[in-house]
Symmetry: D2
Subunit: 136 residues, 4 copies
């Protein structure tokens, strides 16, 4: 199951090359993951209130084709791995014509407020965090 | 040869977790690369004026330990590969006590303003872009 | 005539107070002005290609009520003054219930690429840049 | 008494005009205020821990001369007003040759975590928050 988030490139997101700056893609990916978490019914505010954080631990991103001011982008987010205390989401940023602008694998981990790795507490676990069986 | 850039974490770089947001690390890395290019005598403005861009094509970053407001960070930048039209720089972000906050491999490519991959023109090539022999 | 731009607060836009950082409001306002310029048929890329920039010269912004992650905001943009080489746009950021989050007056000026103030060339002038007669 | 913060313009802070984006100036001003608060011995973390926030309520900024990549900027911060629950700081951003890049008046207010205006608790009050007598 791929969740899709749409956004339009804003002026201040473009750098002196007139294209979206490489760091801004990570902003886009974070926004898309939040949108995806909402869509699968994950209680983000609840888990933070309960004493946990979701940290990003690894990002592997390939930049393929520049995005420009006003481009309407679609970001696909899809869980591809779920382990005890962490998970990996594949995120693909596409331009309006379907061209891939960037592809990323983002790994997150659940930690306590003291910074210790922890399982996602069962009461916050939702199906959408896990890869669809057989899909990968 | 490792080039070192120092900076202090600013308030607006911290997110609701009170630590430096994952995308901001890419801003730090870009700033450190620019600092490194200056240090090795690379004529960045010159190569842009001559019709070329240096694009980031790949970032692989591991986040290890959070950085917080006011933290004095050191960023080591070291070329580890130089190919025909691209190169890779290893960048390590350290906290004041030497703890590694994040480690990244950043690959860049030289492209023309039309977006075609191109060799770095010889007149802009400097030794510091290449890995030290035998160091990796 | 008030032009309206809608957006949703993203996670990386919130700071350690868990609300939208004060500088991010200026990002929102810039995005809304770009949206407004598109809506009134102003040829932004054309005027830049013709050798002009639109610079922001003054921002006067009052922050009223914090905006938070996920808030759906509406930004009203309305021209309130048009002089020889500059203009002023009133921009109001509202929350979903109509509460005003921030109010700003933003003044811009047309300059040449060399930085000299210049009239907006007649071929780029559009009615929507001017205040509605009698409306203010 | 003017407190001075120094910084160098970073690549990702410049927009498609190749100059520092207008919103980034507010980032610079925030960073300089934090630096100023540290310098006057204001216990920022302490006041937040005690249940208070310092909110920015008003920014009035004039942009004079563009700043560019690599520019070494100095930001002067000087308190010009201290009222019961709020204060105003004048901040001036200068280029290396002394040219003023931007001038701002920034007003802040002390609020409780519930958002009610509050006096700065006496135990956190420091002289440096107040204007020097007769200086304005």
């Amino acid at each position: 199951m791929k969740h899709i988030t749409k956004l339009v490139v804003r002026p201040y997101e473009c750098d002196s090359y007139n294209h979206v700056n490489n760091a801004v893609y990570l902003n886009y990916l974070e926004y898309a993951r939040m949108d995806y978490l909402n869509a699968i019914g994950f209680d983000y505010n609840g888990i933070v209130a309960a004493g946990y954080y979701l940290y990003v631990t690894h990002v592997d991103i390939h930049y393929k084709v520049s995005a420009f001011l006003g481009d309407a982008l679609s970001i696909e987010s899809e869980p591809v791995q779920m382990k005890a205390v962490s998970g990996t989401i594949k995120q693909t940023i596409k331009k309006e014509d379907g061209t891939i602008s960037a592809e990323a694998m983002v790994t997150w981990a659940c930690v306590t407020h003291e910074g210790r790795p922890s399982k996602v507490p069962p009461e916050f676990m939702v199906e959408g965090l896990k890869p669809t069986t057989g899909s990968n």
